[in-house]
């Protein structure tokens, strides 16, 4: 590898990452701008954040988003983990079928999925609100949990399970005392992932929100449609910080678990 090629590589990658992060950084930067226009920088202020905390509608939307995200992550963790463990025991053919079916919600474009759920839930006369939001969000969160837990399950030393079986442990006992503790960190990381995905969803939530249950991203979207204000910047920045906190926590747990691994 000659030096010129190496320099070009560094240059190209740097240019790419500048382009990738400049839009994000400018949103953050201008949330602190005194002027309400992006035309010039008028000085540092926290005013827009203050306004945000006094906004009742945003607080309400935030509350709903958090409630939905927490319920979604618990539900997805249970279903996703159960599916991954069940998939260990079924026939090869069935496992393949489960793998395929799990990808289905991720393959249908979100608008089409949202519309179909809207039509389905209205036909069932389900009230639109928390219930529909949690059901629909868990639909596309479960596959992620499933995949992450499965990755971990593949790492398990099967001789341990065989030994337990030989010593007379029932299947349920093996699952409870060996498998679940081993995959617990993955389940936790995956639930945090589900939490973050649910908190960020716009498209499906647009159709699943009831009149009194607008989620935060749906509200942010309607704010953005009206126009650019630093208040939106401030809100986006806070959401970013919150998400990074959640994801960072997940990574930390994962790292710790991997370090503890002795076998």
């Amino acid at each position: 590898m000659n030096a010129r090629a190496g320099r070009f590589r560094t240059f190209y990658l740097s240019l790419f990452f500048v382009a990738l992060y400049v839009p994000v950084l400018s949103v953050i930067l201008y949330s602190f701008n005194e002027s309400s226009s992006t035309a010039h920088w008028a000085g540092f202020t926290l005013n827009w954040y203050r306004q945000l905390f006094n906004d009742r509608v945003i607080a309400e939307a935030f509350k709903i988003s958090i409630q939905v995200a927490v319920l979604t992550s618990v539900l997805s963790a249970i279903i996703g983990t159960a599916t991954a463990i069940i998939a260990m025991y079924v026939t090869k053919k069935m496992k393949k079928a489960i793998n395929g079916i799990m990808l289905l919600p991720l393959l249908v474009p979100e608008v089409a999925l949202g519309i179909s759920l809207l039509i389905f839930f209205s036909a069932l006369k389900l009230p639109f609100g928390h219930l529909t939001l949690v059901l629909s969000h868990s639909l596309f969160c479960v596959p992620y949990v499933y995949i992450m837990v499965q990755l971990r399950l593949n790492d398990i030393d099967f001789s341990i399970l065989e030994a337990a079986k030989d010593l007379g442990a029932a299947r349920w006992q093996i699952i409870r005392t060996i498998i679940l503790p081993l995959v617990a960190p993955s389940i936790l990381t995956a639930s945090l992932l589900a939490l973050a995905i649910s908190l960020d969803d716009v498209i499906i939530s647009t159709y699943m929100s009831g009149a009194a249950s607008t989620t935060l991203p749906v509200h942010v979207f309607s704010m953005m449609r009206v126009g650019v204000t630093p208040k939106v910047n401030a809100l986006c920045t806070l959401i970013l910080v919150g998400t990074f906190f959640i994801v960072g926590l997940g990574q930390l747990i994962n790292k710790k678990a991997n370090k503890k691994e002795a076998f």
């Binding site: 474009p109 519309i115 990074f244 994801v247």
Partner: protein, 281 residues
């Protein structure tokens, strides 16, 4: 019989998915064949009217717009993303994992924020315009918002990590001895890339293309915020039909059309990937 017993625990999962994905999709198909009365309420009367309307030139144009947007998004992300993925594989392990983290990180940044960032940059009083005016390069602010190109930029920006990851995995898996053999036989760097690396990473390219193509059909908020609804895309049309037009049967017909388009892409992808003996799905 033993197999049946072995597979029994999977039944609740299959029911859960079919209830939440299969049934709704069936409802969409059924609804797309139903008509509306003068008040906009759904009437249980079979009609092909909705599908006939899809083939109306006005609506066909929407399909075409979406298709062009999706294909161009795929091409742009490929052109920009391939070198990123390729160069990343050449980095030392420590640097490499840092760069990969930088590529994945945007997934954790709200997609609304990332779209909004472009409004801040490209708007009439946006950062780029004020910079250009201050440097006296332009006198009048440039009109960069609400164009087809704006939507394209936003969409490519949103989806490029998918392309990079797909290509990266493919380049990383590549049998390095083939590349070395090519060098040993005296082929230049370019020639090796064109004759060895590129053909061998086609499954990764196809995978990335698929991962970019599918979401770009439906992300209506990008074209809404950046395109300002000037060019109408499938996602926007379906969204408007449901939220404002209250014409659910027509929206259902368009959703079916969108899903057919996705199936077509997946079919092509499977063909390409199977030929090369690997697959993403």
């Amino acid at each position: 019989m033993k197999k049946l017993k072995q597979n029994a625990p999977a039944i609740p999962i299959l029911i859960w998915i079919s209830l939440l994905v299969g049934m709704p999709l069936m409802f969409v198909v059924v609804l797309s064949f139903l008509s509306r009365d003068s008040l906009g309420n759904i009437v249980f009367r079979f009609t092909l009217e909705n599908y006939k309307r899809i083939f109306d030139p006005v609506y066909l144009r929407v399909f075409l717009n979406s298709f062009i947007l999706a294909v161009l998004t795929g091409l742009i992300t490929l052109l920009i993303g391939y070198p990123v993925a390729y160069f990343t594989t050449k980095l030392q392990p420590k640097k490499r994992s840092f760069v990969i983290m930088l590529i994945i990180l945007p997934f954790w940044i709200s997609s609304l924020l990332r779209t909004y960032g472009w409004i801040i940059l490209l708007g009439k009083t946006g950062l780029i315009n004020s910079l250009l005016m201050q440097l006296n390069i332009v006198k009048e602010p440039l009109n960069m918002m609400y164009r087809f190109g704006t939507t394209l930029v936003g969409m490519a920006y949103m989806l490029i990590p998918f392309m990079i990851i797909a290509v990266y995995n493919s380049v990383d898996k590549l049998d390095k001895s083939l590349v070395e053999a090519s060098y040993d036989l005296g082929a230049s760097r370019w020639k090796t890339f064109l004759n060895i690396t590129l053909p061998l990473t086609i499954p990764g390219i196809a995978g990335g293309f698929t991962l970019v193509f599918i979401p770009s059909l439906g992300m209506f908020f990008v074209s809404d915020l950046l395109g300002g609804g000037r060019t109408i895309f499938l996602g926007n049309l379906i969204n408007t039909l449901v939220t404002r037009g209250r014409n659910r049967p027509l929206a259902a017909a368009f959703s079916v059309g969108m899903i057919v388009l996705v199936l077509l892409v997946l079919f092509i992808y499977n063909r390409v990937a199977k030929d090369k003996g690997e697959g993403l799905f």
